[in-house]
Symmetry: C2
């Protein structure tokens, strides 16, 4: 596997591991609670990564349509609409709106990069097929 | 609204607007297709932002448990597990694994920042209540 975590020099880390805390009941309880929460976090990540897969399939189709019609990758009116919309959804869901905006910035930036690659390939979405 | 889109100087943009293309049937069809895809993209974003809200509620609880037990915000063994896991899910879902890794890096980095803020506040998750 090519990906790896960037370790910040000087950053403190604690490996949550049940073996190391077996002799301290209170710490063992904390570790058990963290493990249960991590399973829920993993379930959320499975759902989000699956939805991201669908999102990038949709934006790939948009990229092909834009390239063939001669439209540019960016559409600022659309981005303003998305910012306002996701801010509203975040507040209603109890999420820091800054997180929603960071999410939007991330996916829109990556989608536009892919739109440009499709445009550069003359409207061929095959350029994005990372598994080819 | 405080958030705004960063406009890159020189970046080309096209506003997809049905009014401007009413007299060209082919372009009108492309615009209609893009609008339908955008509705699906918006639906995916609603789901993802709602799931991110749940994810940060879970990680806030983890932050409180870590702070009270004296654990550091970072856990590299956990991060290695998440990298491997999300890479596998991305490939199975047809998503560029780089996108999954960027997603993981984003949420884990933000969760650790919030863990540190909870620790600095002596284990009080109220420090994250952006709506207070």
């Amino acid at each position: 596997m090519s990906a790896s975590v960037t370790r910040n020099p000087g950053e403190h880390a604690t490996v949550i591991d049940s073996e190391q805390v077996a002799d301290d009941p209170e710490t063992a309880l904390t570790v058990a609670k963290i493990k249960a929460l991590r399973q829920s976090i993993d379930n959320v990540d499975t759902a989000i990564v699956s939805l991201l897969a669908e999102r990038f399939k949709y934006t790939s189709q948009v990229g092909v349509l834009k390239a063939r019609a001669g439209f540019a990758p960016a559409d600022y009116k659309r981005e303003d609409y998305q910012i306002e919309r996701l801010h509203h959804i975040a507040v209603g869901a109890g999420l820091d709106p800054d997180i929603a905006e960071m999410y939007r910035e991330f996916v829109v930036t990556e989608a536009k990069k892919r739109h440009q690659r499709i445009a550069d390939a003359g409207g061929d979405p095959g350029v994005l097929d990372v598994f080819a």
